[in-house]
């Protein structure tokens, strides 16, 4: 049995991984000392006194080798040469600090929500139809609907984002005077609608919608 134990390499003797740190080695040595000391309950009667002495000596030798940087390096090289140890397993992977806030990160990669807004804004600028509508003197309900459809945003999404009831939104897009709320609310609703679609400048477009000659605004 002690023959078998003696055949183990130092790492196996102490139940260590080849990349164990000094702290781990010290801890493992303490644990095995408790296991193999003379009055240990665990190994009581398991070994004869000579066997125990041999094991204790081996453990001490293993510990003294591994705890010494120079000796450990020599021992590792010996093990690698014998093919017991893999060269890659020997050295721990060097951990470099990871920065939490990376300023150099490319814009638009920060998160899914911002990503969507940025994409929407880009679409508004690029889209010819939208630019044409926005350059007009007056903006009507069907115009807003066309912009929304160009941007491929469902009305339900706007209702969800702005918390405006969907029948009001239908009214805004259809110029349906009966369905619209009082002017003071209507202005707020239109601004929220425009903000949700990233259409700028909000106040100016809102004014163009409200001040149409054919539009008499919401209920009084």
């Amino acid at each position: 049995m002690e023959k078998k134990f003696a055949k183990l390499n130092y790492y196996e003797m102490l139940d260590l991984k080849p990349d164990a740190t000094l702290f781990e080695i010290r801890h493992a040595y303490n644990v095995s000392l408790q296991l193999y000391q003379t009055d240990s309950l665990i190994s009581y009667s398991f070994f004869s006194p000579e066997e125990r002495k041999t094991i204790q000596d081996l453990l001490e030798k293993a510990y003294l080798t591994l705890i010494n940087e120079k000796k450990r390096q020599d021992y590792d090289e010996e093990l690698i040469r014998l093919g017991v140890l893999d060269e890659t397993a020997k050295k721990p992977v060097v951990k470099t600090p990871v920065s939490v806030f990376d300023i150099n990160r490319a814009q638009g990669k920060t998160g899914p929500i911002k990503n969507a807004t940025v994409a929407l804004r880009a679409k508004v600028i690029e889209n010819q139809v939208i630019s044409e509508i926005l350059s007009r003197e007056e903006v009507s309900g069907p115009d807003l609907q066309m912009i929304r459809k160009e941007l491929a945003v469902p009305l339900e999404h706007i209702a969800q984002e702005t918390k405006i009831r969907i029948d009001y939104l239908h009214g805004i897009e259809g110029d349906d005077v009966q369905a619209l709320p009082a002017t003071v609310f209507l202005k707020g609703f239109i601004k929220a609608y425009l903000k949700c679609l990233c259409l700028e400048p909000v106040d100016e477009i809102c004014r163009r919608y409200m001040n149409r000659s054919a539009f008499c605004g919401g209920k009084a």
Partner: protein, 306 residues
């Protein structure tokens, strides 16, 4: 085929019979048809723990051929789904069961039709105990966290190891093997099964491979019983580690059972500890163990003597 769990522990008083009885009750409670066999020949107790003071039939009746098969001597117990083969009122020489009777009993046990069979083995390392322990791969060792008990459980594990090797050889071959080992490893090697094992691998490589297979397939378990508050709960895993490292035998640590004075009361009153004190730590430990044990069943292993 039934799953057989022999329960042995080396030292007397470590709780083999109590554990057998408690596990039996728990397994029966889970709806498994469970049989307890009292193989503590000559010092049978299980019937008392199950509150059957005067069993009508016992193992002796089978051995003395009063009944042709083991099924005839199975007793019902007050617990539903739990059955007992008692060793009470047996002949005074039953402790020294002759070889043929032992083989006959073991074969009969293997043929029994139950879901679970628990064998309560006696203390010590007599051949009867060892052979009954080796009937299945699921042997359970039980010890208490005291040097005396741990000493005896190591002794039992070594004896079982030894017995398994011995079963592959005739007496004269084995004697030669022992002498060979003493010559090679020096004096004292005959007491070390691992030395003999090395000799086997050297001289009879085929048998060596078979034995290696056997030992790898064993699913022995260790349970530490009567763990007091001040005892180290990490003792069990360390014992298993030591055995694996130095004997090459893999033993799983199943768990600790807390010490409880109420066990004594329950035995004195001859009631089930689990029923009387279900909310004690000990009862919880036992329930946990029964679950673990039922999910880990190896194969049965009828031994061929050469």
């Amino acid at each position: 085929m039934a799953h057989i769990w022999p329960i042995g522990g080396g030292k007397g008083g470590s709780g083999k019979s109590f554990l057998t009885c408690a596990l039996g009750r728990l397994l029966a409670g889970l709806g498994k048809k469970t049989l307890l066999i009292d193989l503590d020949l000559g010092a049978a107790n299980l019937h008392t723990l199950l509150n059957i003071p005067y069993p009508a039939k016992s193992l002796s009746d089978f051995i003395r051929r009063k009944y042709p098969s083991l099924e005839n001597i199975v007793l019902e117990t007050p617990v539903p789904d739990l059955f007992l083969i008692s060793g009470a009122n047996d002949t005074l020489d039953i402790a020294n069961l002759p070889y043929e009777q032992k083989i006959k009993t073991m074969r009969a046990i293997g043929k029994l039709n139950f879901d679970c069979i628990l064998l309560d083995l006696g203390a010590g390392t007599s051949f009867n105990t060892l052979d009954f322990f080796l009937i299945s791969q699921n042997g359970i060792f039980i010890a208490t966290p005291e040097p005396t008990s741990i000493e005896n459980v190591y002794r039992l594990i070594r004896s079982i190891y030894f017995r398994r090797i011995r079963q592959y050889f005739t007496a004269s071959d084995f004697k030669a093997l022992e002498e060979e080992a003493v010559q090679y490893f020096g004096n004292g090697a005959y007491a070390k099964p691992e030395c003999i094992m090395q000799m086997v691998q050297r001289i009879y490589p085929e048998t060596g491979i078979k034995l290696d297979n056997d030992f790898n397939n064993y699913k022995f378990k260790l349970i530490l019983n009567q763990l007091h508050k001040q005892d180290d709960a990490g003792l069990g895993p360390q014992i298993c580690k030591l055995i694996e490292k130095h004997l090459g035998l893999k033993i799983d640590f199943s768990g600790n059972i807390a010490y409880d004075e109420h066990v004594h009361d329950a035995i004195c009153q001859r009631v089930s500890f689990l029923d009387r004190y279900p909310y004690t730590r000990t009862a919880g430990d036992l329930r946990e163990l029964s679950k673990q044990i039922i999910y880990s069943a190896g194969d049965q292993l009828m031994i061929n003597y050469s």
